[in-house]
Amino acid sequence: MISFSSAKKRYPNGFEALKGVSLNIDKGEMVAVTGHSGAGKSTLLKLAAGIELATQGSVMVNNQNVGQLREAGLAVLRQKLGLVFQDHKLLFDRSAFENVALPLAIAAFPRAEVGKRVRAALDKVGLLNREKSNPVTLSGGEQQRLCIARAIVNRPAILIADEPTGNLDQEYASTIIELFRSFNQVGVTVLLSTHDEVGLARLNCRRIVLDQGSVVA
């Protein structure tokens, strides 16, 4: 489903975030990327999501060579992924419902089905009763769950989540870990990054350990 072959990423300022990473993630697999901050976890996830492009080597997602896609092709690839961001990237000028509906608008979903899909996603993350709330009024954990609802509303085959439990206390973190486990159980390929050892133990999945831009385990 996702494969890297000697993928390198050097940012314009010269910093080499990934120094030739090769890995393979199968369909339906759940993989956690760990490592210290600055080890290249976020960069690896961005390459897998087509948000950043490898400067050398190649990244294949869904049998597509990400580096060879043009602007519109990359966008369409991202439409098919469920992306959860470390800083949520929620829009504070609209309701929770409208935030979750955004991917459907981008995919030009028929209006009649939008309500059903959005409420199903909100229900899944336990925020159905908050659909009219502004994300500002939600707690950190709720915001993260709202972000997850937005990621799954389009029913993607791949979920990519950058530090979904970062900055959350244990109780909130474990609900979120449980969510990802349940998505994986219904066949969704999950790639997430974390440095939360308790969460990792609960996930009980394959680990990729990064150190200074290289896979060490």
Partner: protein, 302 residues
């Protein structure tokens, strides 16, 4: 096909939403663009009316041939025959010196003065209507006629027709120039409106692109907004110009009737109005396209 249509309908709805959320600034932009279009449109109509009024006056050049004072009636009749044979003369009218004097007494209120004269000071004359109004042909014609016996003066009145033509060309160019300047103003005004909108929606654009919005998707509602804004501005311009024509038109008509003319102020045709509105919408679309494309092509953007 259905998805494409849904995408366009939804983009159109988002564009109208922006109108609803920013009614004041949207209306101000519509007014500014409307006025910018009113100027060349109004000037165009002004010049179109001037040239129309001028062309009602007979601009076909008349050639007046004055004979020597000592030319006899017999000589005049012979000359008439020869004039009729000249190529490029379509009509010959003889004006005898007696007729000319009688005419002058009647028209010019000079009766008292003229009756004091011992003899008729006016010569026999011919009024010719040339077949062509081409200045070069007319110059040749004048030379040929002047060479005929007993012809004293050949007076041709084609220069002012040429001047009128030049004025019309000049006015046309002026309108065109003003049109181009103000059309680019419409593009820039729309571009700026769109730029301000983009700034207020930076987050939405960024997040949308992260989760898979194509540039085309981001652009679409802005393009609709620009086109719709231009469309309304075009309507404003048509309304303003129609209002002015109606307001001034009745006065102009009263004035021309008092001069015994039937000239009526011309407004734009329905087709021209449609063209102005369409062009204005197109310019708005173009301004939006430039603005949003510049933004999306900034380095470091997805």
């Amino acid at each position: 096909m259905k998805a494409w249509l849904t995408a366009h309908i939804q983009a159109c709805e988002r564009a109208f939403m922006r109108f609803r959320f920013q009614p004041v600034s949207s209306l101000l932009s519509v007014a500014v663009i409307g006025i910018a279009i009113t100027l060349p449109l109004g000037l165009y109509l002004l010049f179109a009316n001037i040239t129309a009024a001028a062309s009602r006056v007979n601009t076909d050049p008349d050639v007046n041939v004055y004979l020597a004072l000592n030319a006899t009636d017999q000589e005049a009749r012979e000359l008439e025959k020869r004039l009729k044979q000249i190529d490029g003369v379509s009509q010959v009218k003889f004006v005898s010196r007696e007729t000319a004097l009688a005419e002058m007494k009647r028209v010019a209120n000079l009766a008292d003065l003229l009756t004091g004269l011992e003899s008729n000071p006016l010569p026999h004359a011919f009024s010719l209507r040339p077949a062509s109004s081409n200045p070069e042909t007319l110059t040749v014609l004048r030379k040929n006629i002047a060479a005929l016996p007993k012809v004293e003066h050949v007076v041709m009145d084609f220069e002012w027709a040429q001047k009128l033509k030049r004025f019309a060309t000049f006015a046309e160019r002026l309108v065109m120039l003003l049109g181009i300047v103000l059309a680019s103003a419409v593009v820039f005004v729309t571009g700026n409106t769109i730029r301000l909108q983009i700034l207020t929606q930076k987050d939405e654009i960024e997040v949308s692109q992260l989760i898979g919005a194509t540039r085309r998707f981001i652009r679409r509602p802005f393009l609709y907004f620009g086109a719709v804004q231009g469309f309304f501005a075009g309507l404003v311009a048509i309304a303003v110009v129609s209002g002015i024509v109606a307001w001034i038109g009745s006065e102009v008509q009263a004035l021309t009737v008092s001069y015994g003319s039937e000239f009526a102020l011309q407004s734009h045709s329905a087709g021209q109005a449609l063209g102005v509105v369409a062009l204005s919408a197109l310019l708005g679309w173009l301004g939006a396209l430039i603005s949003v494309s510049l933004y999306l092509r900034q380095p470091g953007r997805l």
